[in-house]
């Protein structure tokens, strides 16, 4: 199993996203910064969705593989 970088770690990404959401909740946030953060947030969301999708697919594959082993 390859070791993931901290930036790719799902939990880290989630913390980053939560931080972004918290940050953009500030009404005095500079609009440009807000937009940058929102873009970063969407980027994280996409990555995280992809990771979740990959993980789900992997789980399904592993389960299917295990089921076929058990039948054999």
């Amino acid at each position: 199993m390859t070791k993931q970088s901290e930036a790719e770690n799902y939990a880290h990404m989630q913390k980053s996203l939560e931080k972004i959401v918290a940050e953009i909740s500030d009404p005095n946030l500079d609009l440009d910064h807000l937009i940058t953060q929102v873009e970063a947030g969407y980027d994280l969301i996409n990555k995280m969705k992809m990771r979740l999708g990959q993980t789900t697919k992997k789980i399904e594959n592993l389960h299917a593989e295990h089921q076929s082993e058990a039948i054999r």
Partner: protein, 508 residues
């Protein structure tokens, strides 16, 4: 058609052609002797008178008179009825001759007819065609002192007896030590002053009876002592490799026995001990041989003799031989002849065979039986082993099935458990993913809600003054500089005037 009679102090015996007179004899109390074909009547003067009349009417009479007609003058003189007138008057002093004559007269008067005598034969001596014996009787039971009278069987009487009973029976009976009942004529020989009994006839049944009685008595004694089955009940030797043999030296019985065993490849050895099989020394020698062979540790002992008369069997009725055999503790086989009578020894021994050859066959059968038993044991062992082995195989197969079944069950359980865990993991993983997705969606919704681009694109601007968000008219005043943030840039604006919207308008 003649009928004769003889008489003694007790009986009158009538012989001859008596058939037509049987009713008369029966009315006089007569009993018919089927063996001798004679009628026996109790003695009385009246019966004697009637019998005499019947016999004379039939041309007969007293047997003594009948014999007198055919025998020599000496014998004829015995038939004379004693009368006072026939006896000489006794002299004052007897000369030897007179005494002998007197004794002869007395004896002739007393024993004018033959009489039955019972006694034991001793010193049997064959001389020419005649047989000379001593007839004896112990004075008291168990006493060695005996009363003895000389007796003789003359050639003519012997021939009559052989013709009447058959030569073998006569030979069997006229043997040393035999108890006999004999019809004797008492003769006094004046020349040497001695009495001799001339044996005219014998009663074989008496002798047989005496022997049988002696046997019965001994058997009864052995039974009462609990000895009669001691030898019989001994266990048969499984392999009688060492056979003790008692027989006369150089006898046919010895060679028959040994030859038979060797012809059938008898694998053991024969330990021989000779002993007389008949005669006075026989009991002592046979007992000595039995004891010696027991000491030689033989497996069984065979006592055998070849032919021989049935009378010689009596030596094996000897109490000493029989008691030694009972206590011997070694199985005995008696093969001492094939006769109608069975000796006491043959009755009490472990096995009784008729001939030496039969005894040898019996021993060989013991070997054969042992061999068969061994073969059967071998088969049983084989069968048993196969059965045990098959049981082991079956047991092993059952254990294997049980093991496989248990393993399958265990594996199924493990597999089921793994499947359950797998499903659980699957569900948990999916649930976790779902929760993450929900969190992510929430964050996304929050992000979307805070994304200013959607309303900036529609022309909305964000006002800021002094770095703060302007979200009320009250925060503005005339001539105040404010910054308006647009989607693609920022404009600096000067407030010309402020006008607060009326509350009504606000509600709109």
């Amino acid at each position: 058609m003649t009928i004769h009679y003889s008489k003694n102090d007790q009986f009158i015996v009538v012989m001859g052609r008596t058939f037509q007179h049987r009713a008369m004899f029966q009315s006089l109390g007569a009993k018919f002797n089927y063996q001798e074909k004679t009628w026996q009547l109790p003695w009385s003067a009246e019966v004697l008178r009637q019998i005499d009349a019947i016999c004379r009417a039939a041309g007969g009479g007293p047997v003594d008179e009948f014999k007198a007609k055919f025998e020599d003058a000496t014998t004829a003189s015995l038939t004379r009825e004693p009368t006072e007138s026939s006896l000489p008057s006794p002299p004052a002093v007897y000369s030897v001759g007179q005494l002998a004559q007197r004794i002869s007269g007395v004896i002739e008067d007393a024993f004018h007819a033959p009489i039955w005598v019972s006694g034991e034969l001793q010193n049997v001596n064959f001389r020419g065609q005649n047989i000379y014996v001593n007839l004896s009787e112990p004075k008291n039971a168990g006493d060695s002192a005996t009363t003895t009278i000389n007796a003789a069987i003359w050639q003519r009487d012997m021939q009559l007896m052989k013709k009447k009973y058959g030569e073998p029976i006569v030979k069997d009976i006229l043997q040393e030590g035999m108890k006999l009942k004999m019809l004797c004529r008492v003769t006094f020989y004046k020349e040497r002053g001695s009495i001799t009994l001339s044996i005219l006839d014998i009663d074989p049944e008496f002798t047989k009876g005496a022997l049988a009685l002696a046997r019965q008595k001994l058997l009864q004694e052995l039974r009462q002592l609990g000895l009669d089955r001691l030898n019989k009940n001994l266990p048969p030797p499984l392999y009688p490799f060492r056979i003790g043999l008692i027989s006369a030296a150089g006898s046919r019985a010895y060679s028959d026995f040994v030859d038979q065993l060797h012809s059938k490849e008898f694998p053991g050895e024969i330990v021989f001990h000779q002993a007389a099989m008949q005669g006075l020394d026989s009991p002592e020698e046979v007992c000595k041989a039995m004891t010696a062979l027991k000491a030689a540790k033989v497996d069984l002992i065979v006592i055998t003799r070849g032919g021989g008369s049935s009378a010689d069997l009596r030596w094996f009725d000897d109490p000493k031989i029989c008691k030694t055999a009972c206590h011997l503790g070694v199985p005995l086989i008696a093969a001492i002849g094939h006769h109608d009578d069975i000796s006491v020894l043959e009755t009490i021994v472990f096995q009784h065979e008729k001939t030496p050859t039969a005894a040898a066959e019996y021993i060989l059968r013991l070997f054969e039986r042992a061999r068969n038993q061994l073969s059967e044991c071998e088969l049983n062992v084989g069968r048993h082993s196969s059965r045990v082995l098959q049981n082991f195989i079956d047991q092993l197969a059952r254990r294997r099935e049980q093991f496989l079944h248990a393993t399958r069950v265990r594996l199924n359980n493990l597999q089921q458990s793994l499947t359950n865990q797998s499903n659980q993991i699957h569900l948990l993983a999916l649930g976790l993913g779902h929760r993450h997705l929900q969190v992510l969606n929430t964050l996304e919704m929050q992000l979307i809600a805070r994304d200013p681009r959607q309303w900036l694109e529609k022309g909305w601007v964000q006002l800021q003054a002094n770095g703060k968000q302007i979200n009320s008219i009250t925060q503005l005043s005339a001539d105040q500089e404010v910054k308006a943030h647009l989607l693609d840039g920022t404009a600096s604006l000067i407030v010309q005037k402020t006008e607060r919207r009326k509350p009504h308008d606000q509600t709109k």
